[in-house]
Symmetry: C2
Subunit: 269 residues, 2 copies
């Protein structure tokens, strides 16, 4: 295992063009994790920008990337301003656009107090020692589950034993086992790291993400991240999943929403 | 006033190219409303797609569009599948990309019952007769406020009288005065129609949207829409605004989040 920094490295080969190796270690089944791909896209976008952070990343997942194969990231700058810069960033493989993202970069100051912040999620995460670690069944060895250290709120993991909670919620503590402290790219990973919240509605099986937008709201402090996932609606084979990430200093550092598919056959009636 | 359907018409001039007139009637100040522009982009995306609805629209607002001037919408198809089709859709004016959107189209069935839906927003809208209509000060005549019929929950409009509530929330009933019933494009308008929730934090002035992603979750029923806006965090000059739109049949029909800027000087300490 090469560590998160190496696995998300991007090599500039020309103006707005970056070579990347898609690390097979971040796959769930055959598919590289979406958060891992967003980390790659974010690194390229920031490298091509005068700003330090990917504050907004809106991503369309169109095809499954091939892991262990070469790929390229193309950054097309749209507008570069003093406060923010926007670009279209695409992962290209075998001449096809696999993932498109509209990324806005900006520079967030560290340790800033919020002018206003809402209440933390209503249901807090239990203390770390009361949570469950380990690899969910169905997630193979030498894959995504080996790259992250997640400790799940057991009350949101009943689906593992065939007892889904009936509420589309999953909560977990999150950190990287290689000691890489939270940064923008770890947040990209964290917002798409939870098992689909639809599992707790009895919708078993793969839930491919169609679109995921996430916002980086603050520079995260070192330590564990608290990752809160929930959904609002499952209908017609589509469901949403919102994630809030809070850091060890109690700051809201990232927000996301994704729209994903559940095969209708997966729903137990 | 030509009505919403005419104001959002798109004329196909070639494969993936549409001519549009940006109606000055949808301006707030000099700037055309972002929801109005998303309605235009959505119409073009659906016209170029085999599917009926814009289920996911992730939008970067980069420049201010000129109203009353010609513009073009360019639709670049990315992937067309049986369930969904994705495209990059841009509003182009004077040779510059003004707005980019990643739009996924799909076809939602009418009158479907949700497999699972969360609770309606904790604070309901008061009955229509207890809400306030009319044009907020600072919103000129012959502009956006004339195109929509909005009835505001007065408890979220204290900022009008210099008494912001201290909570970033705005709620309103919403319909079009020309009798055009809710559809996908009315929803695009509704998710960006509220005054910025930051006004209730004492952050006066224009709050330009940097990014807005919205999801159409169901085909709306005729009648009034209930539009609930709230925010989670204002920090470093950035704030988020979430909107849920519920229809007259009690269905959650649209969800959005935007990331916007507040000039730091606007914040009263």
């Amino acid at each position: 295992m090469s560590g998160f920094a190496d696995a998300t490295a991007v090599r500039r080969i020309d103006e707005g063009r970056y070579a990347v190796d898609i690390d097979p270690g971040y796959c769930i089944g055959e598919a590289p994790n979406g958060g891992y791909l967003m980390a790659l896209l974010g690194r390229a976008a920031v490298d091509a920008s005068p700003h330090a952070h990917p504050v907004s990343t809106a991503t369309n997942f169109m095809r499954v990337a091939k892991a262990g194969a070469p790929a390229e990231i193309v950054v097309e700058p749209r507008k570069t301003g003093r406060t923010a810069a926007s670009s279209l960033v695409s992962l290209v493989q075998d001449g096809k656009r696999i993932v498109d993202a509209l990324i806005t970069t900006g520079t967030l100051e560290e340790g800033v107090d919020a002018d206003w912040v809402g209440e933390p999620p209503a249901v807090p995460l239990p203390p770390l020692d009361d949570c469950s670690g380990g690899r969910p069944p169905g997630v193979g060895k030498n894959g995504f589950a080996d790259q992250v250290d997640m400790r799940f709120d057991r009350s949101t993991m009943g689906w593992l034993d065939g007892r889904p909670s009936g509420r589309p919620e999953v909560r977990a503590w999150f950190r990287l086992p290689d000691g890489h402290e939270p940064d923008a790219y770890v947040l990209a990973l964290a917002v798409d790291a939870l098992p689909p919240v639809s599992l707790n509605l009895g919708a078993n099986g793969w839930a491919p993400t169609v679109e995921l937008t996430w916002h980086m709201r603050a520079v995260p402090a070192p330590g564990w991240l608290a990752v809160h996932g929930f959904g609002r609606l499952l209908t017609g084979g589509w469901f949403d999943e919102e994630v809030e990430v809070w850091d060890s200093a109690g700051r809201l550092v990232a927000q996301s929403r994704q729209l994903a598919r559940v095969p209708k056959a997966a729903l137990k009636k």
